[in-house]
Amino acid sequence: MHIIASTLVSALGSGKKPHIDAWTEGKSGLSQETNFHQQMPEIITFLGEVKGVESVTLPKALEAFLCRNNQLAWKTLQTEGFNNKVEALIEKFGPNRIGLVVGTSTSGIATTEDVFRHKLDADSYCYQKTQQMDSLAQFCCQALNIEGPSFVISTACSSSAKVFAVAQRWLNAGIVDAVVVGGVDSLCLTTVHGFNALGLVSSTVCKPLDESRDGINIGEAGGFMLLSHAKFSDETNPSPVEIAGVGESSDAYHISTPHPEGEGAQLAMLAATEQANIGIDELDYINLHGTATPSNDLSEVSGVSHLMSEKSSTWISSTKGFTGHTLGAAGITEIIFCQWMLEEQVVPANLNLTNLDSMLVQKLARSNISVPLETIHLSETNRRLQYVMSNSFGFGGNNASVILKRESAE
């Protein structure tokens, strides 16, 4: 599948440039003093907040959808001219020939929290257009005038990676000409308190793969991609990147703890490489799910090291130190990161890593895998990225891996 357009808004900013700049400067979007912290004075942690989401206004016709999640969705659709590119394809193919499939874990639940917290009058609360799990798909279809098949996938933190498998199915079946995929998850109290109750929230900045890592920082993000089998000659600056493979699996192990050897993760990675028709050693880079909980990182690195042979010189890093864990939006956030890495030939640092956990060092000992401590611009080296993979794993033992390919190496 070709990438016709993409857009991303995270704690690092809106669109491609601020993200690449932050990688280069090693600057995190995480903060311990955000607006959202005022709503949870009892919890000490860092958050990846997108500034100003609460003041985003929706068009009159879409006002009933007003909630933080749809405000972030609207802001993201307006970024990088994404909405205009969708509109151009609608004109070409008709609204029935464009599909939309998006992921979220908590939808607009913050609005229901506000009713319980007496910050919103129950009379002006509209469950169906805010908290209801398909609100994001309804909202985006109306905002973009899409009339093809559409739904929300909600499989916790793998939600917006699994959307790529649906897009493939629709395009392969010929029922659409293009698909908008994506995901949005926004800060809410239930997730912060819920992860905190599980002992998974770090009181410091999150440190994926580090020996002192002790949990996640929750972030929010919105991201969308416009995908098609065809390339369009009238495109300006077409991306040289395509989606080469999607793999899905289940752990069948525990509802909130990953399999210690990353068994399910391995199955998802293998399924993705099979579809991309490459060997796992051909991957130049893997964007880890890398949440910075002790169990996730150990499980995932175990899974990766099981698959890789001694000769595979692959970079791996987690970008959660930049954005926080954006949960249902983590898939799309990091898959768009992979697109940009291939376009710009950049390997982002595994931010906040000082000492690689000795157990992980052991796991990686027999491979040639390296974890970049600083962002690497490959133009200054003789190495190139051609195949990169993004991992996304969620509660319920739900796994998805997506492989992106740069069409022609320079």
């Binding site: 009892e42 609360y125 799990m133 559409s150 996938i153 909600s154 498998a165 308190h193 509660f395 319920g396």
Partner: protein, 269 residues
């Protein structure tokens, strides 16, 4: 798009399973909706996991298990660790309402079990654990358009994976604590499941489903559906047609909305 139905499960007040429903339809009886859904315990789960399941999770698991068990009886030689698709509009609103209430307290406390059960794919997660199944598992929400989108996605998945897919569509009324009108809190729960196979190589006593996309749905007087309310219950006329299919009563096409102006035409053959 075509798929063979290989097995069916059904749960609703007054409906304990699909076989009972079929007998009722063939003898012209109506289900007794005043009955509550029978107590169910997912015995395929380890005891500690079983204890943690909620009414929402149990409704989905019971209905999934019925389809799988009859599939295993009919096709003992066929691989039973199938990809699964769970379709539900709201997820577990008993949990989401309690969590929203909890965060409004002076000292917010959410139970860890409640939190991990709150994910929309909790039934899928428990199902895969209980069945020791490492295949792909999806959980989607598509509001009132569950039947058309569920069938379409399940059939495309079966084409994609080259094997049968277990689809479960289940919905419950919104929890009484939710700040919404009483209508949405007083609907009847409804769940049905189907194992669908797009390869057309496995023979079955059930009819073949044919799906096509259309913008024209002929206006038809609504058949009486005692369960009208939650989106999953819109499958009632389809299940009725399947139940009566072999006796030659029902052969007409049905239209299910895919979204506000497109339909999926479903024919049995």
């Amino acid at each position: 798009m075509k798929a063979q139905i290989l097995s069916i499960g059904l749960t609703a007040p007054g409906l304990v399973n699909f076989e009972t429903f079929k007998k009722m339809m063939l003898t012209n009886q109506l289900p007794d909706m005043s009955k509550t859904i029978e107590k169910y315990s997912p015995t395929f789960l380890p005891a500690n996991e079983r204890r943690r399941t909620t009414a929402t999770i149990q409704l989905a698991l019971k209905t999934a298990e019925e389809a799988l068990v009859s599939f295993q009886q009919a096709y003992p030689e066929t691989e039973a660790k199938l990809p699964v698709l769970f379709v539900c509009k709201d997820g577990d609103t008993l949990i989401s309402a309690r969590m929203c209430q909890a965060v409004s307290e002076e000292e917010p406390m959410i139970s860890p079990t409640q939190f991990h059960n709150s994910v929309h794919n909790a039934p899928a997660g428990y199902w895969m654990i209980g069945q020791e199944n490492q295949a792909a598992a999806s959980a989607i929400s598509v509001g009132e358009y569950a039947i058309a989108n569920g069938l379409l996605e399940a059939i495309l998945q079966s084409q994609n994976y080259g094997k049968p897919v277990l689809m479960v569509i289940y919905d419950l009324p919104l929890d009484e604590l939710m700040p919404v009108d009483t209508v949405q809190k007083s609907q009847a729960p409804f769940a049905f499941s189907m194992i669908l196979d797009a390869s057309e190589v496995i023979e079955s006593d059930y009819p073949l489903l044919s799906l096509s996309l259309t913008q024209d749905a002929p206006f038809k007087p609504l058949k009486s559906n005692p369960y009208t309310g939650v989106p999953a219950a819109e499958a009632y006329p389809l299940l009725q047609s399947i139940a009566l299919y072999q006796s030659g009563h029902e052969k007409s096409d049905m239209h299910f909305p895919l979204n506000w102006n497109n339909f999926i035409k479903v024919s049995l053959g």
